[in-house]
Symmetry: C2
Subunit: 357 residues, 2 copies
């Protein structure tokens, strides 16, 4: 049984590889050859005033690679009001650290193969999904990217975008200039041939861009419908960044996953201060219309149509993550870790038994 | 982070302790102070002809002890036909071993506290649930126990029964005499003051007993309704061991859990040879009537009536296990393991991270 770290995974898994293995998985998923294990958020009271405990679980089985993944997040969550709006904040209460883990099992033997933190892979798989969508939906000649957001996830979006199109110019907008400066300084080091532009106005950032990628934690839309011009491709990393009006302004909308449009909440009585989030957001208003959009896997597998003309406005909504992404990327990382001799190896017998219930 | 073994748990957790901590948890659960995370069985194809891969997950949060448990089983499953009937068999494909694990988290900090195999605790918690039911439902003066079954779980039933009533005589029936002989030889060593009787006929075994406990893997009823005499208490470890006719012959029926009457199946297309089991069994026929039975927690908490007279025929149906049992017993075992210095300790930093998705 292998224990890997975020550093191991950052070192082992490149964005192009992650995109490759996820594409392979989406093709299987599109034809029923991968099993989605639904995301469930289990919420119960914490010991802290105003905080609650969130235990999130999602998973997936991918028979082609003989893996089953289970990804969990074990979080103390608060909802401080910041700039007049409630924000969902995960408190690092485990010795100043967060707890998100992936457990990888063999569907051939049942054995627990690996445990690793979810952070590094989380960013890669979110970026990879948006990169795959970009590859299938954006114009082939797209060269200018507008990025809304300058946090950790925004970095993954840039890596994914550059893996599928040779963008020459990337414009970065986010509300705080210090954050933009820091982001661009780091991005230039990683992508020295790209021209990064620091823009202090969202509309100016997106105006004339071939692709707009949003990577924020905003709970309200970050784009105005009027900003979407013919030929543009738009993507986001959570549903709340766009809304029905933005969606309605697009010619072709693709969801990440339609089988589970949002997570299921399992909430204990007395859990304080529940953040309504997606439950009362535009998803519920979208209602039946939701099922009309294809999902990413269908587009990847050629079972749904992507862009049909250079003037189409296309949109990818990364509405919910799936554990299958961790199954796919996890299988690849484990192969590479074994080959490279990285990680801690623990006795298999600690994680198996001679009796069965 | 602690890694414990089945041997550690067998050494640390006694049946009376397990019964005690489970009673405490059921009292909280009855009043909404514990969160049940549903059992989901995820089934997908295996590489082996005729086999499939089953990934079972269940869990629970118990705020009083600040724990969240997740229990998983990762099994290669076949359905050989034995004596004309299909049986559900878990193949030990992980180096000849099975894979069932409990992950215990802190709901105060989020940290992963412990990992241990589920086997030893599985038997204790199944036994404990039936013992708690026996304690609340059987006559106080019960002294003769009829046990149907002589496997591993049957041993847990005997431990539980003796923890709550001073049975002087235990009659054991199972179809194979060699299995009975072996079971009784071992039981005598563990319980030297009890008279064990080896009985080769089910009706004779139960006739005149104060309590009947069934602990088999049978998919059809193991009791005839006519065998139930006034005053007897009947219990089983899976719903299939009794049927609607047996249930209808009882004055008072208590289910283990009514919030989730059976597990949910999440099945990938093309998964071979699915065993219908509970899905098409008497549960579905029971239909709406099911909700009329109280659950064990309600009886423990005094919110439902148990036995009302010495002549009542009472029945406990241990219809489905819940992850909350592992949360409760797990919290206790971990406290004891720390105090005793048992188990392997691994660096907490391996199972936490400095980023959060």
């Amino acid at each position: 049984m292998h224990v890997l770290s975020n550093e191991d995974i950052d070192q082992l898994l490149t964005m192009p590889e992650c995109i490759g293995v996820l594409e392979e998985m989406y093709r299987d998923y599109a034809v029923g050859q991968a099993l989605l294990v639904p995301r469930i958020d289990n919420l119960s009271p914490s010991t802290e005033e105003g905080a609650y405990y969130g235990f999130k679980q999602m998973g997936g089985a991918w028979p082609r690679r003989r893996v089953q993944a289970l990804r969990i997040n074990s979080d103390i969550i608060t909802h401080p009001v910041i700039a007049g709006k409630p924000r969902r904040v995960k408190e690092p209460k485990a010795n100043g650290r967060w707890v998100g883990l992936v457990f990888l099992f063999s569907s051939e033997t049942g054995a627990l193969l690996a445990i690793f933190p979810d952070g590094a892979m989380q960013r890669l798989r979110v970026g990879a999904a948006n990169g795959i969508a970009l590859n299938h939906l954006a114009r082939a000649n797209a060269r200018t990217l507008a990025l809304i957001g300058s946090g950790w996830q925004a970095g993954g979006q840039v890596m994914a975008a550059l893996a599928v199109r040779p963008f020459s110019d990337i414009r970065v907008f986010s509300p705080r200039s210090a954050s933009r400066d820091a982001f661009i300084a780091e991005a230039k080091l990683r992508h020295p041939t790209v021209n990064f532009h620091n823009i202090d106005n969202a509309e100016e950032c997106v105006n004339g861009a071939d692709v707009i990628m949003s990577a924020t934690s905003s709970m309200v839309r970050v784009l105005e419908p009027a900003w979407l011009k013919p030929g543009v491709h738009v993507s986001c990393i959570k549903a709340q960044e766009v809304d029905q009006e933005v969606i309605d302004g697009c010619d072709r909308v693709v969801m990440h996953v339609t089988a589970q449009p949002k997570h299921y909440d399992n909430i204990m009585e007395g859990t304080p201060n529940i953040y309504a989030g997606p439950k009362n957001g535009w998803w519920s208003k979208l209602g039946d219309k939701f099922a009309d959009y294809p999902d990413l896997a269908q587009v990847v597998a050629g079972r749904a149509i992507g862009r049909t003309s250079p003037d189409d406005i296309t949109c990818f909504v990364n509405n919910v993550g799936i554990g299958l992404q961790f199954a796919a990327a996890g299988a690849l990382v484990l192969d590479k870790a074994r080959a490279a001799g990285l990680g801690h190896e623990l006795p298999d017998d600690w994680f198996s038994e001679t009796v069965h219930p």
